[in-house]
Amino acid sequence: MSYLDPCDGEPLRAGYPVLSQEKTAGDTMKATRCSTSKPYGVAIDADRGSPGAKGVPVRLDGISKRFRSVVALRPTTLDIAPGLMTALLGPSGCGKTTTLRMLAGLEAPDEGRILIGGKDVTRVPPNRRGLGMVFQSYSLFPHMTIAENVSFGLRMAGMEPQEIASRTAEMLTLVRLPHIEDRYPNQLSGGQQQRVALARALVTNPAVLLLDEPLAALDRHLREEMQFELRRIQTSLQITTVIVTHDQEEALTMSDQVVVMSDGQTVQSGPPAEIYNQPKSRFVAEFLGTANLFDGVEDGQGNVRFAAGAGDGAVLARAEGTGRRELTVAIRPEKMWLCGQEAPASPATVGSDVGLSGRVTGHVFRGNNHVFQVAVAGREMPLVIYQQASNLDGPGFAQGDAVTVGWNPKNAVVLKD
């Protein structure tokens, strides 16, 4: 049932960064667990070696799915790195949940194969795949106590009652919810239910953990807390994890790999920083955070200049060997500067290579930064610019102020579409 056997692990590594609580728990558990020959692993193992070393790789090999006439997923091949957290990110209806459900075995792909740990599980029913899953609504069994919920998987596997009890308690300790065994799900807060759902999914030591919008139902504060919590547990277990989310911030902060999906196919995948800093397409640039897009023309020497009469032909970005003349350039709002316009706009005044004259048309204070909307000539949409709120003097610019917008062309990304 499980692809992981805790008993064949290397000895505990002193240098491995786990919280001491888990380390002791894993340690003592290992002693009790390995004396038995049951195939259940210890989810709290601290001895899985270096990150990613013991997780199970997952491969989606050309899978596709349609519901009646609606294409949910076009043929997609995706490798999910072992032991890491991979986020499937996209707007609703992009096929990310369908992908996850096919991985879980809750939907069958129309074509293609699903390999978990190198084994073809395409036709294996969900109860024999040995995966753990947490749903957005937590889906705790309302007629069972917390202990019964968490131990459900163990009972289905026919584990001995004594072991079930100790393992259940250990899992609840892992998610920092000890001593609530006898309560019912409706007596818990949303955050607590979330943790119980996680404990329930992890208790059988699944090969892969699947998270379907796990934090979407939580309020903002709790969500941020749970992001850390999930990440802590995932890294300490080094379990291959796939998280489905429509929240770009969640995807960027929590995962090692982000797969951006749109319209039933993957559009870009890579580490969060790469996805954010080097979006390949307009969709990715705009879906992950905010991007100011410019139409530019390559001048034959690797310099992209404004296409439409703005900016005095200043260099907008650098582009080498795209083989195209007309390009779209994206610049993140936080990579732009704002400068008062006492002097005429020029690269020198804003300390960058590009200077655009504009007028502030909107301002919002967001606590840690100021958001400005700046209208510039030759553009319908105003530019969006973030300025760090690094002092208490206020934004420095008011609506209607004439300003100069600047940025470093190195920070402008040339898109592929």
């Binding site: 075995g105 109860n127 024999r128 749903f135 889906s139 309302p142 459900f152 289905m156």
Partner: protein, 300 residues
């Protein structure tokens, strides 16, 4: 000028309306008095009357019978006690068959039927409830009679040589009652089933439960409320059913409602009939008690 007058008038009428509202508010829940009176006159008073009647001396007073003589006769005479038993057993059998037949239908409706099919099934479930019970029971008579459709059909196919006596048997009664009462069971199970989050079942599957285990551990326990409500409803209705027993049973089964009818109409032993009515009522109240407990547990 006239505009100003109109404005004043509106103000005056508004104030008047407010003043008119106040006495109502003072009366509190006065508006339910008519229904309270109706209830008192046609429900509580007759009930009191029946209760009082049941304590009077009946036609065949047992020697040395006291205040509870009618009840003593009902529970101590093996014939009458047998009737109570038969009533309960019949209702239990009908309830059980309704559960066994109704659950799969409800499950199919909720889990597998398309929206159109679902509505169609609902229509077919409710439509018979709109036709009078007498009509439906006569329908069964037509089917089950000695020279009825079923016997004629079987004989023409040479499956039987002489007609089966289907009518006036417990089987006919159970058939008729299940037909009448199954929709109540199906609808109450379906409404609870459709409220069960499918993700709960999917979670169980992900945790290693087979389809059968998932049904037994998740779906069935969670649909118990609907099943319980349906069972109590069917049990109560079967307990009090009269027309079906009269027209399809033909005396093959003796139940309390039939006996009450007999005592009232033929024997004219009103106190004894009243005592049986009270027993039937208590049976219904016991059911209601369980139903309330079920609902309260759900709320907790």
């Amino acid at each position: 000028m006239s505009g100003k007058n109109a404005e004043l008038e509106t103000m005056a009428s508004t104030i008047g309306a407010r003043a008119a509202v106040r006495p109502w508010r003072l009366m509190g829940f006065g508006y339910i008095i008519p229904s309270l009176l109706l209830l008192a006159a046609f429900f509580i008073a007759p009930l009191w009357f029946v209760g009082e009647m049941s304590l009077r001396e009946g036609r065949l007073p047992p020697p040395g019978g006291g205040l509870w003589q009618n009840y003593e006769r009902l529970f101590l005479d093996s014939f009458y006690f047998g009737v109570i038993g038969e009533t309960v057993v019949l209702s239990l059998v009908v309830t059980l068959i309704c559960i066994l037949m109704g659950y799969p239908v409800a499950y199919f409706m909720v889990r597998h039927a398309s929206a159109r099919l679902y509505n169609l099934i609902i229509f077919f479930l409710i439509a018979p409830l709109l036709t009078p019970i007498i009509m439906r029971t006569f329908g069964w008579q037509v089917l089950l009679a000695r020279r009825g459709l079923i016997n004629e059909g079987l004989m023409s196919m040479d499956l039987i040589s002489k007609p089966l006596s289907l009518l006036n048997s417990p089987v006919a009664v159970v058939l008729g009652l299940v037909h009448v009462l199954a929709p109540f069971m199906i609808l109450s199970i379906a409404s609870v089933l459709s409220g069960i989050d499918r993700r709960l079942e999917e979670s169980a599957r992900m945790l290693g439960a087979s389809r059968g285990k998932t049904f037994l551990k998740i779906t069935l326990p969670l649909s118990m409320d609907g099943l319980g409500t349906g069972a109590i409803l069917v049990f109560m209705l079967a307990n009090g059913s009269f027309v079906t027993l009269l027209l399809l049973g033909g005396g093959s089964l003796q139940t309390l409602p039939l006996l009450i009818y007999q005592q009232f109409n033929t024997t004219r032993d009103l106190p004894f009939a009243a005592a049986m009515s009270i027993v039937l009522l208590v049976l219904a109240l016991v059911c209601l008690f369980f139903q309330l407990r079920l609902i309260r547990r759900k709320g907790a």
